[in-house]
């Protein structure tokens, strides 16, 4: 029976192993996180239907009006568009995660059947968008800091999307 190393030697060895393993692994996520690469939510592709497969393809949302985030126009690679609809106290998208590259602009188009306020946390002071019932509201802000941020309906207290900014 080999003598087992002291626990702290074990801890040190495994720590080193972790760091070594991870340093081998981190090269791949950093490719995904490269700004303006097509790996993140918005794609530079000019065909919106194909881009909508990104970010929230796992969406369980049933509403047909819930279009996934996609680029608004060709050449607008630095803009992520969120089409948000609020109806019968349900939000759409419904709590999905949306990948955003740091520095991209997030543009929200909101239609709601009741007056509401959309809050987007951005790491700074945040962004607020007043929405009147039946009137589409448009607002945009720059995702300038890395992190996961909630975009929520203030009146319903529901999370619309979580922006994953890298």
């Amino acid at each position: 029976m080999p003598r087992f190393p002291r626990p702290f030697a074990l801890l040190a060895v495994s720590t080193t192993a972790t760091v070594a393993l991870l340093s081998g692994c981190t090269s791949s996520p950093s490719v995904d996180a490269a700004p303006s690469s097509s790996a993140s939510a918005p794609s530079t592709s000019a065909s919106p239907p194909s881009t909508s497969a990104s970010a929230s393809s796992t969406s369980a949302s049933s509403s047909p009006t819930a279009t996934s985030p996609s680029t608004s126009a060709p050449g607008a690679a630095d803009v992520v568009t969120l089409d948000i609809s609020i109806k019968d106290d349900q939000v759409s998208p419904n709590g999905e995660k949306v990948n955003v590259a740091k520095g991209q602009t997030v543009k929200m188009t909101v239609t709601s059947d009741s007056d509401d306020e959309i809050h987007a946390h951005t790491g700074g002071e945040g962004f607020e968008l007043e929405v009147m019932a039946g009137k589409p509201a448009v607002g945009e802000f720059v995702a300038s800091e890395a992190g996961s941020f909630e975009v929520e309906s203030h009146h319903l207290e529901k999370i619309i999307v979580i922006l994953v900014v890298r």
Binding site: L22, C25, T26, S30, V165
Partner: protein
């Protein structure tokens, strides 16, 4: 523009999901290390004695009346300042009391207890208040009106810790003053009135913060043996801990509530709750309770399994979860570090800044009011992920080593392996669940 009131806790920003490669590495490490420990670790208990270096001079200093009085007064003053903000401040997110409670008091307790050991028991402001009351009434703080049965242990703290977890994760409008005032008054009344009724032992049994601090302090390098402070190997110190009744429940509440905090951020949970007609308070209460019960049940069953092989046949299976409770402490601490480090750094700074102006009148008492929060930590995305993974994996390693050591004391050598594999399996599950929750699916 005013600060937005966040729906969830005080942090308006969460950590990025852990990269998937980190999840795989973390899970693989947990599995491999567990098997290494199970098959190759020592076969005789090696931490029966706490060992370490005796520190008589340090003991004299920290036990001196002047040092204790000074430490108590400093902590009491800090709490009085926070209470000023709580009861006389403005109901804005710039009120420092929110960060004081959720970042400084709750999260900050973990690193402080790891570094300083069982300091909270000495400086607990509620103990100071109780001691003051007893001095006025000329009674002995240790003696109450009724004697607390010894079997109570720290069971009351399992309940009060659950209550705090509920406040932190479920309570609607928790970042409004009226809600927090109510909870603060309830906390003081439950702890201080209980101490008057049962004597000061009640504070150790029921104050959620003191109990949390005492449990985490078992992992600190400072340990008291026969009144003398020692600098010890934290594993030896942890092994030397005799967990009071209710310890398994307390540690399960800590681990379960942290796990639920992560679980509540998964897309599946958010969508399920938001599409449902049932109130989110009901969902979150049930989810929090269920998560804690899963931890408590799995841990208790794995510990009770050991009774089949136990050295001491007269020790009932129900005693084993308590005896083994120490091995969950590193895992709970690892979870807490992984989940709340960035929150402590960011909201901790914000709190320090806002504490200069507790009443929102433009004061700058400590000169910190004009400072900005340094959020540079968020630019180090990979570093945060590495710290999170290291915290979870280190907690796991210390946990299984502690469990192994305790098993050797409880089980005969030949059946140590047969007796402890369920415990190892349960711990691997906790660790894998921990990294998957950080991946935030």
């Amino acid at each position: 523009m005013h600060l937005l009131v966040p729906l969830h806790g005080i942090g308006t920003r969460h950590d990025l999901p852990l990269p998937f490669s980190f999840v795989v590495v973390g899970a693989a490490l947990a599995l491999v290390i567990s098997f290494v420990v199970l098959f190759f670790a020592w076969r005789r208990p090696r931490y029966l004695e706490p060992g370490g270096t005796e520190l008589p001079r340090l003991t004299r200093i920290v036990d001196s009346a002047a040092f204790r009085l000074a430490a108590r007064l400093v902590v009491l003053a800090v709490y009085a300042w926070a209470a000023l903000a709580l009861f006389a401040g403005k109901d804005l997110l710039t009120n420092p009391v929110f960060g004081f409670v959720f970042a400084w008091m709750w999260v900050g307790l973990v690193p402080l207890s790891l570094l300083l050991g069982a300091f909270w028991r000495v400086t607990n402001p509620l103990r100071s208040i109780h001691r003051g009351l007893c001095a006025v009434a000329r009674t002995d703080p240790r003696v109450g009106l009724v004697e607390l049965p010894p079997g109570v242990g720290i069971w009351p703290a399992a309940v009060t810790l659950f209550a705090f977890g509920w406040l932190e994760l479920v309570q609607p409008n928790r970042t409004t003053l009226s809600v927090l005032q109510l909870w603060a008054v309830a906390w003081v009344v439950v702890v201080v009135v209980g101490a008057v009724v049962f004597g000061s032992r009640w504070i150790a049994a029921a104050d959620p913060f003191e109990t949390y601090a005492s449990v985490v302090a078992q992992l600190s390098p400072w340990h008291r043996v026969r009144g003398q402070l020692r600098l010890v190997n934290p594993l030896a110190g942890l092994n030397h801990w005799r967990p009071p009744p209710g310890s398994a429940a307390v540690v399960s509440v800590l681990l379960g509530s942290t796990a639920f905090d992560s679980f509540a951020n998964t897309t599946w949970w958010i969508q399920t709750v938001q599409s449902s007609d049932t109130s989110s308070v009901v969902w979150a209460t049930a989810g929090l309770l269920l998560m804690i019960l899963i931890v408590l049940a799995s841990f208790s069953l794995a510990a009770a399994w050991m009774a089949r092989y136990g050295r001491d046949r007269s020790l009932p299976a129900t005693e084993y979860p308590r005896r083994m409770a120490g091995s969950l402490v590193p895992i709970a601490v690892g979870y807490a570090v992984a989940h709340y480090t960035t929150l402590l750094v960011i909201e901790g700074q914000r709190t320090a800044i806002n504490l200069s102006d507790p009443l929102g009148r433009g004061w700058n008492v400590f000169g910190s009011a004009g400072m900005g929060v340094n959020s540079a930590i968020y630019d180090h995305v990979t570093a945060i992920a590495v710290v999170q993974l290291l915290a979870i994996v280190s907690g796991h390693i210390l946990g299984i080593v502690a469990a192994h050591e305790k098993s050797l004391a409880l089980l005969p050598t030949r059946s140590a392996l047969a007796g402890q594999w369920p415990m190892l399996l349960v711990m691997v599950c906790y660790t894998c669940a921990g990294v998957i929750l950080l991946f935030s699916p």
